[in-house]
Symmetry: C2
Subunit: 294 residues, 2 copies
Amino acid sequence: MSVDPRLSINQATIKYADLATALRVTVEAGVPAIGLWREPVADVGLATASRMLTDSGLRFTTHCRGGFFTLPEGPARRASIDDNRVAIDEAATLAAAGAAGSTAILVLVAGGLPEGSRDLVGARERVRDAIGELAPHAAAAGVTLAIEPLHPMYATDRCVVSTLGQALDIAADFEPAVVGVTVDTFHIFWDPDVEASIARAGREGRIATYQVCDWKTPLPADVLLGRHYPGDGVIDLGALTRAVSETGYDRDIEVEIFNEQVWATDPLVAVQRTAAAFGGAVSPHLSAPLESRS
Amino acid sequence: MSVDPRLSINQATIKYADLATALRVTVEAGVPAIGLWREPVADVGLATASRMLTDSGLRFTTHCRGGFFTLPEGPARRASIDDNRVAIDEAATLAAAGAAGSTAILVLVAGGLPEGSRDLVGARERVRDAIGELAPHAAAAGVTLAIEPLHPMYATDRCVVSTLGQALDIAADFEPAVVGVTVDTFHIFWDPDVEASIARAGREGRIATYQVCDWKTPLPADVLLGRHYPGDGVIDLGALTRAVSETGYDRDIEVEIFNEQVWATDPLVAVQRTAAAFGGAVSPHLSAPLESRS
């Protein structure tokens, strides 16, 4: 079975692989692109990571992740903003090191309520403020900040941005090339407005990256780890993928799975299974590439 | 400490108490109202339950619960619709048996995806259809059907109605006296539109019942059981209670807690703790009753 030419493996899917292994198994499985995480890049250093990425011949799709913007003003907030500037620079460097078609995207997870706070409204405002501070740096670096709405079950401890519509409302203050959104099926499929919000995201030029994985119940004890190979759960990936395709989105599509069983799998096998699952559940719903349309 | 005169104990908070015990401890704690569940009522029979309720002197606030409307047409769907007609009649009977100020409300939980289905859109349409079938019976019985949006983490296995706005869109096809919504803090607090949706619910005359409990993380292994006494978590109950009060809602307010530790508590103690928690976290944010306003 051939691998979809738009598939990208998000490194979180093979969390326990170091960067060298992640790049090697992705190439070996015939997958053409990869999204990286900051920690394994930092383990070898950015310069080395960039050389390894270039040598792999893979496209680079996203850098995961920045954000955590909900703290009130003070040294911890300043440290977070500064660290996000570093992450922006990393994303630019890695995108330049990747094969042609790489994209300079930094995925942003907003952060949860600060300890002792119940003020979601205020936390959400501080997310907007932080993005405002970072936007000039991102623009100068040619990096798109991709606000990721996370499922509402993470609203208080991880990400106060809970819907695609809310992410788009924040992004609306900025240029689409600088601030976009991450459309991840796991986080938004439940939303009664999901198809309308995807269409809006496309219309407003905000879909920085499209990520797929699946949902099923019961959720595991750690609800962060309840993600599955595409097609193994109950998300209507066909409908969502068609909705994204219809906006004209024609770039790579990441699969990002947080799942202890997937992580316990040999990483090459996990990537091969991901490619097969993607081919079955996502590829049939993608528009043909522009150049092949009649 | 005096008990808030608008507090109602939802029987799920003391799940392992039979009806006699639930009524007794509610009275003993000085709480003036109770919301009942169908199963403990059925255990003694409706006629006996009604007499027991009358004898308790408590107001009756809601009957929990009807719904489960997502099956496609067939015998199982027919059985569910028929059972909801029975539940409507039970709600009317119990409301008539309760003290003055009782309300004939049947809480509806929509149901999840049918086995093997990924079609949330279709499931949601079937919920609307079922309510359309039941509305004439509810109107004749003088019962309000209260559609309850459940937290999106339950969207696929329990309730395809996930936001207050979505519940209001369904209710909009019907008379407000016949179809309203359940506003439960646990399920909707995360919604960026929550205050606007509460205001809309009030404007459209749809707030059938207001229920409070709290949320905190990490969630327990069974995510159904992660509810807490008001004030023990991170929900801004003050803001939500003020938003509900500002709509003019002046009826009883239920506390419904699904929590193994609360269930393991002596039921009288659990009710007393609920009353104290309510007094601390909710009562200060309630408008004064109309008759005491200048």
